[in-house]
């Protein structure tokens, strides 16, 4: 009974949304005077950044990104607070036993490459697809591989939280520097360089590198916390 009710409700809602969105139309320009044209123009002209999405995420709407980083930070904090236990079991393992020697040897060689891939993604965030979040996620995944493969691989909690804090402070601090040297928060105060060079885009690559470190540290923290969560019921 309840299921039928829910299906009816959702069918109604779906019809409602579907008529709305099909009315909007797919693949055609919907509006005339949007901000999108300004973004596309200014990205190349005044920021000298190739990737418009990066420019929007970090500069035009950089405030959103600051909020987003904060959301992740809070998620880590809330996760720790929800799963908090007194840490008397210090020597607890992330996994119960090591993987076979093929996986361990393989991940040993792959780990630096994954980290390098992550670094590549966030250093080139303003030139190619990708950026701080993606690079950070990739680095965290590299740590996940090591944590999974080895029985006694551990990541220092203190270093993680220091990296996280410093990266966060860099982001917010660059914003405040913009307020001091420029006129507004997060304003670009560095020379913008030449389009499609690594050193271009002013503060954008710096912020993305900070975001990359921060996201990497945060997600590694998430993985580490959740891997060490041994349910009392399940051994």
């Amino acid at each position: 009974m309840k299921k039928i009710l829910i299906i009816l409700l959702l069918a109604g809602l779906g019809f409602y949304i579907a008529t709305t969105y099909t009315g909007i139309g797919f693949g055609e320009p919907h509006f005339k005077h949007g901000v999108k044209d300004t973004y596309l123009k200014q990205t190349v002209q005044s920021l000298h950044v190739a990737n418009t999405v990066t420019a929007i995420v970090v500069n035009f709407r950089g405030f959103d990104t600051l909020g987003e980083v904060t959301v992740l930070f809070l998620a880590v904090t809330a996760l720790g607070s929800i799963l908090y236990k007194k840490r008397h079991e210090v020597g607890v393992r992330s996994v119960l036993f090591s993987s076979s020697s093929i996986v361990t040897a393989g991940s040993k060689l792959l780990f630096p490459a994954i980290i390098l891939l992550g670094a590549y993604v966030f250093i080139h965030g303003h030139l190619t697809p990708g950026g701080g979040f993606q690079g950070g996620v990739i680095i965290a995944t590299g740590f996940l591989l090591m944590l999974l493969a080895y029985r006694n691989y551990s990541v220092s909690h203190i270093i993680l939280s220091i990296v996280e804090s410093i990266a966060g402070i860099t982001f917010a601090g660059i914003g405040l520097l913009g307020l001091i040297y420029g006129e507004t928060f997060l304003q670009n105060f560095l020379p913008v360089g030449v389009l499609n060079n690594v050193f271009s885009g002013g503060i954008i690559p710096i912020i993305y590198i900070a975001v990359g470190f921060k996201v990497a540290a945060e997600l590694t923290g998430v993985i580490y916390t959740i891997l060490h969560e041994k349910g009392e019921s399940n051994g």
Binding site: V95, L110, L117, T128, Q134, I138, L148
Partner: protein, 85 residues
């Protein structure tokens, strides 16, 4: 040239379809994970080919990342099945 790309894409789509059927049918977790692994590999190849279709070099980065990370996803499930987690 376009014909060849079309044929390739359609063949890959059929490959994905068959793996997906295996995913739905597969009697146990490992079978389903094999299907996921195969889907990921075919997907990686498809991403490169589509990048060629769109003539954008930068699109290939996505395939690169899928090639690396799909593997870790499989390792996660394998480690769970081993009872190591």
């Amino acid at each position: 040239m376009t014909t060849i790309i079309y044929i390739a894409l359609i063949l890959m789509a059929f490959g994905m379809l068959l793996s997906f059927i295996r995913f739905v049918k597969g009697p146990n977790t490992a079978d389903r994970t094999v299907a996921l692994d195969t889907l990921t590999t075919i997907g990686t190849a498809a991403l490169v080919l589509l990048g060629y279709m769109f003539h954008r070099y930068i699109y290939v980065d996505v395939a690169l990342i899928y090639a690396v990370l799909g593997f870790i996803g499989v390792i996660v499930i394998a480690r769970y099945l081993e009872g190591a987690l």
